[in-house]
């Protein structure tokens, strides 16, 4: 089997950070090649380099086909598409106001000869060519599992999320590519939908198509790829068959953190999982008079149902965790509680306040503060100014100032850098600043959205120490985390969220021991 695409020593820096640090791979023609790694490992950056959206700062990318070998690096995206490399996007980039058929037709752009003059005249020949293209587009929609009569003429934005993903694949296929790059094609899908995606990929590959599959869902990737490369912090740390990669200790460490490598011998999720087995919720003593009560919450983004009927409670003084895979709907829940999103149905009560209708600033003043995902620090304001704004909702300026000084003593990092622009702090330091800022609002309930995201393992330790400390001082916490292990270590109770529903609930300890949870979620 010959090599279709060869990457040699690809590098890309962004302001000192090595997003891609000397990565080399070989993709064999006719195979499915997987590229995985934790969040922020550089997978999408690498794909963007290969497809020309970001220039590589070194190395070469060679595409070999019947016509010869072409150097792909540093060419513009449209030229690379012209060479036969098609892709889908992590964030789903369809032409939203065009119909599904029109989306696919545009995918044929490189193969359609310029017919501008012919279009000017109403010739029969033009009609026939148009019809042929239409026919091909319809065929492609069928290939990806859509009914052209049902979906073809609908505007892309009105289709369901899963169908939109399919249209994007059909559009990429319209290129008749030599290599199809799928960037997180199953993001936000439930296991059943993911299975269908897996089947589609296999089907396309059986037809001879070479596929590069990027995802962080181990189950999907392991089941389908002939070979897998693993990235972490921009470097390739493993490259081989699924079996060898899943047992590689370096990979296990990358996914689970140093502590967990002692409890797990392989990357969880890489074995065949019995999806049907969902154990009954373990005994979870929900508080009788909760601080926060959520019932049957439903939240949708357009056609995408992110949260489908979620109910839980948080009692005073507890640490409650919501764990689950990426895209399960956890952040959506928090944003709804903060009033930034509005639910389609359901109840969310915080004391006297109806969170589903109250204005966001009122919610904060009532004592519900959020430390958002990605920290959302005001980078150009100084550390001190960020903290001062944390106390915006409060009336007692004097007390607030004293608390700021106290917090600076408690977290010396903040004290040392108090006059620096917050953007200059490291990820972990910013997380601590975000937490301090959240505390300054004197919250009765603090929502923490993915505090460990993108942080190196030691910083994660520090951040979780901070969380434990503020809990000891009496703050009630609702914690959302992909890193289930850490979350369950400190949580009093936890709920497992999957595709918008609560699957399991119980005490932190009980869920940690639950084998289903271990299999499914301890990989992140």
């Amino acid at each position: 089997m010959s090599t279709l695409l060869q990457l040699t020593d690809i590098r890309r820096d962004f302001g000192g950070v090595h997003a891609v640090d000397g990565v080399s791979l070989e993709i064999e023609e006719g195979t499915i090649f997987g590229l995985i790694g934790p969040n922020g490992a550089g997978k999408t950056t690498l794909v963007n380099v290969v497809t020309g959206y970001i220039r590589s700062q070194g190395g070469s990318i060679r595409l070999t086909s019947k016509g010869g070998t072409a150097e792909v690096a540093r060419r513009p995206p449209h030229a690379i598409a012209g060479l036969g490399i098609a892709r889908t996007f992590q964030t789903l980039r369809l032409y939203r106001n065009l119909t599904a058929i029109e989306n696919v037709l545009i995918g044929m752009h490189t193969r359609r000869r310029d017919d501008t003059l012919r279009q000017m005249l109403a010739l029969r020949a033009r009609r026939r060519l148009d019809d042929r293209r239409f026919g091909e587009a319809r065929g492609l929609l069928q290939t990806v599992g859509l009914n052209p009569d049902l979906h073809g003429d609908r505007r892309a934005s009105t289709l369901s999320y899963g169908d939109q993903r399919r249209v994007e694949v059909a559009r990429a296929l319209a290129l008749k590519p030599k290599l199809l790059i799928l960037d997180e094609p199953a993001a936000g899908m439930n296991p059943a939908e993911k299975d269908r995606v897996r089947e589609l990929i296999q089907q396309l590959n059986e037809g001879g198509l070479t596929v590069l599959l990027i995802d962080h869902d181990m189950r999907l990737v392991m089941g389908v790829c002939k070979r897998i490369a693993v990235l972490n912090f921009g470097r390739k740390i493993a490259d081989g068959s699924p079996a060898s990669v899943s047992d590689d200790p370096a990979v296990v460490t990358a996914y689970l953190g140093s502590a967990a490598s002692k409890t797990s011998s392989h990357v969880p999720g890489s074995e065949e999982m019995d999806l049907a087995a969902t154990s009954k919720p373990a005994a979870s003593a929900e508080p009788a008079a909760p601080l926060l009560e959520v019932r049957e919450l439903e939240v949708a983004y357009g056609a995408i149902k992110a949260v489908r009927g979620v109910s839980f409670r948080v009692g005073k003084g507890e640490v409650v965790a919501l764990i689950g895979a990426n895209g399960a709907g956890k952040s959506t829940i928090l944003n709804t509680l903060s009033g930034v999103l509005r639910p389609q149905a359901g109840i969310a009560r915080f004391g006297e306040i109806d969170l589903t209708t109250a204005a966001p600033d009122k919610i904060v003043r009532a004592g519900l503060a959020q430390v958002p995902e990605g920290r959302e620090i005001l980078a150009r304001l100084t550390v001190r100014e960020n903290m001062e704004l944390g106390a915006w909702a409060r009336r007692d300026r004097g007390a607030a100032h004293r608390e700021i000084d106290d917090l600076m003593k408690q977290f010396p990092i903040l004290g040392q850098r108090h006059n620096l622009p917050a953007g200059q702090l490291s990820g972990g330091e910013q997380q601590i600043l975000a937490i301090a800022r959240g505390l300054l609002a004197h919250p009765k309930l603090l929502l923490l959205d993915e505090p460990s995201l993108g942080l190196a393992p030691q910083m994660v330790d520090t951040v979780f120490e901070v969380i434990k400390r503020i809990h000891r001082e009496g703050v009630t916490i609702l914690l959302v985390e992909q890193n289930a292990l850490r979350a369950l270590e400190i949580a009093d109770r936890a709920y497992v969220v999957e595709t918008g529903r609560i699957l399991l609930s119980g005490t932190g300890a009980a869920l940690r021991r639950n084998p289903e949870v271990q299999k499914a979620y301890l990989g992140g």
Partner: protein
């Protein structure tokens, strides 16, 4: 030559004041408020109306006019901007709706002649007028061979004071921090309990008040008040200034304003004639092409 530089500083002050309003709204709301120049014009027109048609002394007239312009800013927010935000409209829409408001404002004044509906506001239609003589005391000082008019000195002092106050408020008060927070990250600001809608309204009020004040000072210094002073004199120059200084940056707007004043005077001296105005746009063009973020702006990059 130094006389010319002095003139440049005076006119630069007006550009700076005007541009600060422009850039404030762009920085905080991410919207280019093209009705700003119309408010500039209305500041002058309203003051003139109160002084010449209704007999008020200058200072109270100016204060009222500035306040009314602030209210016009609220009008812009509630009529042209908020409905679009509620509908998640693309940013171009805000541009267009502010153009619509500008059209309305200018047309109202343009058509106001004696006997029409708006004759209480303005009676000179499309013509240009000046403040009646003696509206403002205007002694001339002769210092070191230079002639300095009192009004122009007053403009300079007012502008500098105002900029200092504004700078202080933005840097050191909680409200100023909230403004910066909303400008930087709307979502984070919301989560901190800042009422973003209210901040937007305040920004528009402040920006339009500044714009109106700039118009009043312009009318005083240049003795030209007409429905077109916004569109012809400052609208595009204001754009040039904020692009030069960096869109969203207040110090950039101030420095850019004075810089433009200097460039114009320099071009006038070197080339004379109407080239002076063309130079402003040539500068604008060059900046956009070579360094779109201006002097103080942040790099613009599309997220993949």
């Amino acid at each position: 030559m130094t006389q010319q530089v002095l003139n440049a500083i005076f006119i630069g002050s007006i550009y700076a004041l005007f541009a600060v309003g422009y850039t404030l709204v762009f920085g905080v709301l991410d919207v280019l408020n093209l009705a700003h120049s119309a408010v500039f014009m209305l500041g002058a027109v309203i003051t003139y109306s109160l002084v010449a048609l209704h007999g008020l002394p200058f200072l109270p007239a100016a204060v009222i006019a500035i306040f009314v312009c602030g209210l016009l800013g609220l009008l812009i927010e509630f009529v042209a901007l908020r409905p679009l935000r509620r509908r998640n409209a693309p940013p171009i829409s805000a541009l267009i709706s502010t153009i619509g408001l500008a059209l309305i404002f200018v047309a109202i004044v343009e058509q106001a002649t004696p006997g029409t509906f708006f004759s209480w506001l303005w009676q000179d239609g499309a013509n240009s007028v000046r403040f009646p003589a003696g509206t403002v005391p205007n002694p001339t000082y002769h210092v070191a061979g230079l002639t300095i008019e009192g009004t122009k000195l007053g403009i300079l002092i007012t502008t500098v004071l105002l900029m200092l106050v504004l700078g202080y408020v933005i840097r050191y008060t909680q409200v100023g921090r909230a403004l910066r927070a909303v400008a930087e990250n709307r979502r984070a600001a919301t989560l901190m309990g800042i009422n973003v809608d209210r901040i937007f309204a305040s920004t528009l009020f402040l920006s339009s008040a500044l714009g109106g004040l700039a118009g009043i000072l312009f009318g005083l210094a240049i003795s030209d008040i007409s429905p077109y002073i916004g569109r012809d004199q400052v609208e595009l120059k204001g754009l040039a200034v904020i692009v030069l200084g960096g869109m969203g940056s207040i110090p950039g707007a101030v420095i850019g304003g004075y810089l433009l004043g200097l460039i114009e005077v320099f071009a006038l001296v070197r080339f004379s004639g109407n080239v002076e105005a063309g130079v402003a746009f040539a500068a604008l063009f060059l900046v956009l092409v070579l360094r779109p973020q201006g002097i103080f702006g942040a790099r613009l990059r599309e997220r993949l």
